[in-house]
Symmetry: C2
Subunit: 413 residues, 2 copies
């Protein structure tokens, strides 16, 4: 029986009762003979409370001091979970990021893990203890407390699993696994038994939200076998691992969608070298995150550039463009709100050239206008009117044979 | 201008407004040219909240995990105070106990400081920064987070002042300094400008409550100049330092009282070698803290032993005695509740042999029955009925010339 790393999010340890439920699950695995390393997030909304306190003191608090402040959240939950295991009669010890040897870059608020120095954890495991590690935090070479930013605890768990050569890394969350589509939108969505890292990466990036892309990247890099599963049921979750393509037989593994998309079109940019670079550097300098980018030229001298941003970033994008119009030299800016990005993801489409065309056909059949298209090796994304999101996702889900009770219509193209 | 260490308690940093008030006071000192090291406790009642959470999980949580949990309280306040100083335009950095080099014994819940490794603090001071250190906590040689127990933050401040050779160590609290008596009981009580370590130790032990005895002991040992002052006014506080006795001319520096005292008398103990040892070991093994002890023999073979305990410990004391009666061999136990210990404290009494007699005279004049007496070089304590506390304390305060507006009646005996 090997070592298992389990990660429990803030919801899973949000109350005393839930902490005991987590303890009981750990005990089951321990009794089954596994060595256990547990990564925990801060309880429920406690991080939000800390952020609020800081904001009352300073609108732009120092990132270094924010890390000092926020790291306390996980320190509280590891201590309480350790006490709960003691209460159940099991030996356990909590370790902060620095005690657990989670060494990061010397950057605050979004540090990357450089190394796991596993001596202390190994020593505690050798004593038969359950080791409970504070997620989301680490320590720099200078002895500063750092935090990993969004998705940090997932990343902590994957890094520990890699550093300790764990049998697998189980990410406990409030959903039962990775689904072929958002079950709130597609009632027929099915839980996947397994999915490849690359597919999971696309789904994570596409707003499926179960796992943070950073943790999936790390899992892929170090070939950590990830399991996504519910902390509220005993149901088997979804394995994220290197799945031999041949075996799945699937062309498309899932349909993802990302609402609240806005499209901006910069009309009449001078078509010179460096135009794109200048435009997107200006946007990046102003913290506008751009997703899909499309350039279309209708003239040798002039070009139009369309891109999408999150709806919440639209005004910042428009303000930035307005402020830099003379410098960038474009004629005008159009924009459109209320859009959704719908994507099909599947490692199988690499060898199936007609997948994008089939997607367009399904959407056209439902009379859904496609505003923009973006593709990669394993995904095709279409930007469509938000009002048609449900129709689009369900139609694609059915068409690619992902519905729980139907056969594939376009199983192999 | 030298280095000043300041310590602010939980009440002083209990709200955002108060944190800014503390920041402003630090800024004043910084502007006056001082290097500043600040020790902070956990905000307001936050430690109580953490203790409550732990108790919900386990009636007897592991001390090691309690330290892990409780240490977060100070970590929150140092981060917020540092942010407040940044907001005021000053460079500041917060350090946890382990970052500040506060090395303690490997004991949890009540560790003693072994050493302050000052390199990191010195480096930050050299960069012109205000250094904010988490009080109450340290780190053991094994890299474990420890806490110092009651009065821990005061002790942290004194230890840092000693390690850094600070000009002085200012303890900010909710009173203006050390008084000749409790101002709530004696309206004419005066704030002392200075007091010796030994006098302060007696007062601290006698329930004056301004400073924890441990911190005064440490200050005496390392000759740290302590100042006790209010965090809500700019009033000068009380200096605790080696005061040459000749200069003060005072026989008595203050009148302390400790309410909620109970007296227990063990009647008819066999007067054999080891009787006292067995009796008080039995009590200590059952966590009964004993204060004054008096032995009186009325017979060569049998002795009576009286001692005082806190009222809250009385039942534990009586239960312990009852459970061990046959082993200890005494005849019966009497007890009396509702008592107060009144004490006069003053380094000047060493050379004034009649001080105790004078105290008995003052109390007798008020027809106050003295139940027990205990003396040391610099204090005399009498146990009296609690109902007469106010009368006793005021009479003694007046008699020893401590009233704000009167002359001493017994200035030199």
């Amino acid at each position: 029986m090997g070592l298992i790393v389990q990660k429990y999010g803030g919801t899973s340890v949000g109350t005393v009762e839930r902490i005991f439920r987590v303890a009981d699950r750990i005990v089951e695995n321990k009794e089954a003979g596994h060595d256990m390393v547990i990564v925990v997030s801060a309880m429920g909304k406690s991080t939000d409370v800390l952020v609020d306190m800081a904001k009352q003191i300073s609108p732009y608090p120092s990132e270094r001091e924010m890390d000092m402040l926020l790291a306390t959240g996980e320190q509280v939950s590891i201590a309480l979970l350790s006490m709960a295991l003691h209460q159940r009669g099991y030996d356990a010890i909590s370790l902060t990021g620095w005690q657990a040897g989670v060494v990061t870059e010397s950057i605050h608020g979004r540090a990357r893990i450089k190394e796991i120095q596993t001596e202390r954890i190994q020593r505690e495991l050798a004593r038969g203890r359950v080791v409970i590690v504070a997620g989301f935090q680490g320590v720099s070479d200078e002895g500063e407390i750092t935090t990993l930013g969004r998705g940090g605890s997932d990343t902590s768990a994957v890094a520990l699993a890699a550093g300790l050569n764990a049998e697998r890394c189980e990410i406990f969350t409030d959903v039962a696994g990775v689904f072929t589509a958002d079950p709130r939108v597609v009632p027929a969505a099915q839980k996947l038994d397994s999915i490849s890292y690359d597919e999971m990466l696309e789904l994570a990036n596409l707003g499926a939200g179960v796992l943070h892309p950073r943790s999936v990247e790390a899992a892929k890099k170090y070939q950590v076998r990830l399991v996504v599963r519910s902390s509220f049921t005993t149901e088997e979750g979804t394995y994220v691992e290197e799945v031999p393509q041949m075996e799945t037989g699937r062309v498309v593994s899932g349909v993802a969608h990302d609402e609240d998309v806005a499209k901006v079109t910069v009309v009449g940019m001078p078509a010179r070298v460096g135009t794109l670079s200048r435009l997107f550097h200006t946007l990046a300098d102003n913290q506008v995150n751009v997703d899909i980018i499309i350039q279309s030229s209708y003239d040798a001298d002039v070009t139009n550039i369309s891109f999408t941003v999150a709806g919440s970033d639209l005004h910042k994008a428009l303000d930035t463009l307005a402020a830099n119009q003379s410098e960038l030299g474009f004629a005008k800016v159009d924009h459109e709100e209320g859009l959704t990005k719908v994507s099909i993801v599947g490692a199988g489409m690499v060898n199936n050239p007609g997948v994008a065309a089939e997607m367009f056909r399904v959407l056209a059949e439902q009379e859904i206008t496609i505003k923009m298209v973006s593709t990669s090796d394993i995904k095709v994304s279409c930007v469509i009117p938000a009002a048609l999101t449900e129709l689009a996702v369900r139609s694609l889900h059915t068409a690619y044979g992902l519905d729980a009770s139907t056969e594939a219509i376009v199983h192999s193209i």
